[in-house]
């Protein structure tokens, strides 16, 4: 079976809801080409908007993607999507399992309400990354997310669990009301970081946020090396290099159990 390839032909400015992509469950190319989608004020067949080839609906490739393609990987289950180009808002929203690799930047509200699977964004993510979806009280519920570059404002809200690795900077008002989970941020951190968090572990380089946290002693912790090995092997990169990071544990004001490793 060959990967199912969608080559985008859209040149107009209307946005296209791509959530139908996660629901494809047929290997018949003609059936896939005939899927009807709403675009602008009209209904179109997929073949009018994309050049379609291949038949493996478990392995989807999108070429010529752009910022007007929204909700790619919405509620995705057990599929792999590779995207070349940028995407609109709602990438991997509510995703349950599978894998998304984006060779470009993504729009607002990416990975909000994600429940599992892994997402690799080899570019930047706009505001509201891993934020609260409308119907849920938790942002990221589980899964692994890697953003190679930067992340916008108001990101990572009410994260329940999972692992996020950000290779660049993160904007202001991020990591608010964190419940748990692990977040690595290798660039600068915006203002109002990690307010009202309950638990969670951060691996960061920006020391400016440390002043609100209690410096822990230099106890050897098995977890850091274990996590470093896991993350570096998942990403096949030597991202976490420090062998003896400084650790902060608990906030000075309300003694919440947030943990910071300065890597």
């Amino acid at each position: 079976m060959k990967p199912l390839i969608f080559k985008c032909k859209i040149k107009d400015k209307q946005r296209l809801d791509m959530s139908w992509l996660s629901r494809i469950n047929t290997t018949s190319l003609s059936d896939i080409k005939n899927i009807a989608v709403s675009y602008g004020s009209k209904i179109y067949k997929i073949s009018k908007l994309f050049d379609v080839s291949g038949n493996n609906y478990k392995n989807i490739i999108i070429k010529n993607s752009n910022q007007r393609l929204d909700n790619i990987g919405n509620n995705l289950k057990d599929k792999e999507i590779t995207i070349f180009g940028d995407t609109g808002f709602g990438l991997a929203r509510g995703m349950c399992s599978g894998k998304i690799t984006l060779h470009g930047n993504t729009g607002k509200n990416a990975c909000s309400g994600m429940r599992g699977g892994s997402v690799y964004i080899l570019g930047s993510a706009d505001d509201g990354f891993c934020c609260l979806p409308t119907s849920m009280n938790e942002g990221l519920v589980d899964g692994f997310i890697y953003v190679q570059k930067n992340v916008g404002n108001n990101s990572i809200i009410r994260m329940r669990r999972g692992n996020i690795v950000i290779g660049g900077a993160i904007g202001k008002n991020s990591c608010l009301e964190l419940i748990s989970g692990s977040v690595t941020i290798l660039g600068k951190i915006g203002s109002n970081f990690c307010k009202n968090a309950r638990r969670g572990t951060f691996f960061i380089k920006d020391k400016s946020v440390c002043k609100e946290y209690i410096k822990a002693n230099d106890t050897d912790l098995t977890f850091y090396n274990f996590y470093k090995i896991k993350i570096n092997s998942i990403l096949k990169k030597n991202l976490l290099k420090s062998s003896s990071p400084k650790r902060y544990f608990g906030t000075k004001n309300n003694r919440q159990l947030v943990e910071l490793f300065i890597v």
Partner: protein, 298 residues
């Protein structure tokens, strides 16, 4: 049948279906990983009275362990799921959680999962931290040397316990030396353990006893000291018998263990003192697996 001059009797070992699990113990150095592994596998020779049969499978290199530290893999075997669960948690709590610098991980993947650190986490008294990576949950339990890290679950898989062979020798020293060669060979084979002390057992048993309370008693047919007064199965020249019991994840693993260790004995200088190689069975009616020595060595 003779292998390099070593006589192999036409008999078979009788073994049983069991349930097994593998764990990985790591520590800051080999010494403390070994201390934990030895403690964990103590008093785990036979399910008759120990509840579980356990042994060190092999030492792991730092590249093979989840946290990049030296470690050991341990296999546990039991007749029932509940015993395996109970023994695993009890031993992990008393022998590994207590041992300085250690961490504990699952060494098997599968669908049938049993608790490893799931209940040990409560030792953290609310300060334990959960981490979920790649669909696996790990617990960080604060302890006095830092933290004890432990995977939440490990897998339980079908396995075989009780594969064996007997060395019938002219002298005790030669018999023991030949056994040591066999155990050394098997310590380099994956997926098997020899659960008895040093891998060797001298008190092979038969089913039942003249005393009603006992379910097993000495295998008098293989006791050299009784050869004149019981229905002995021993040749006059046999003055010592020792047994090696092998538990493994699959029949092929045990076959390999028996074959390679017997070939190693047959090439050793102690071969001249070994009268023959036999095996322990109960007539073939109790165990689900039969290991025919001559078939294995063909």
């Amino acid at each position: 049948m003779k292998i390099n001059g070593l006589a192999i009797e036409n008999t078979f070992a009788e073994a049983f279906n069991m349930k097994a699990s593998r764990i990985i113990v790591t520590a800051d150095n080999v010494k403390w990983a070994k201390n934990a592994a030895i403690s964990f596998t103590g008093f785990a020779t036979s399910v008759i009275a120990c509840g579980v049969e356990a042994g060190i499978e092999r030492q792991l290199k730092t590249k093979e362990t989840p946290d990049g530290r030296p470690g050991y893999s341990i296999l546990l075997f039991s007749m029932s799921r509940s015993q395996l669960e109970k023994q695993l948690e009890t031993r992990a709590g008393q022998c590994i959680l207590t041992c300085p610098t250690t961490a504990l991980f699952s060494g098997l993947d599968g669908e049938d999962m049993i608790p490893l650190g799931k209940n040990l986490k409560y030792f953290g008294d609310g300060y334990q931290i959960s981490k979920r990576i790649n669909k696996k949950r790990f617990w960080r339990i604060p302890v006095m040397d830092g933290e004890f890290m432990c995977e939440e679950m490990t897998a339980r898989v079908p396995a075989i316990g009780g594969g064996n062979f007997l060395l019938l020798a002219k002298s005790r020293s030669s018999c023991l030396s030949a056994c040591e060669i066999a155990v050394d060979v098997m310590s380099n084979i994956d997926n098997i353990i020899t659960p008895f002390p040093g891998g060797v057992v001298r008190s092979g048993s038969k089913v039942g006893s003249k005393y009603k309370a006992l379910i097993a008693s000495t295998n008098d047919a293989f006791c050299p000291s009784l050869s004149g007064i019981t229905g002995s199965k021993l040749h006059k020249s046999v003055n010592c018998v020792m047994e090696i019991v092998i538990n493994g994840l699959t029949k092929e693993d045990i076959d390999k263990g028996i074959r390679e260790s017997l070939i190693a004995i047959s090439k050793s200088k102690y071969k001249k003192d070994i009268v023959s190689i036999s095996a322990g069975n109960y007539g073939g009616k109790l165990g689900q697996h039969h290991f025919h020595l001559r078939k294995i060595l063909k």
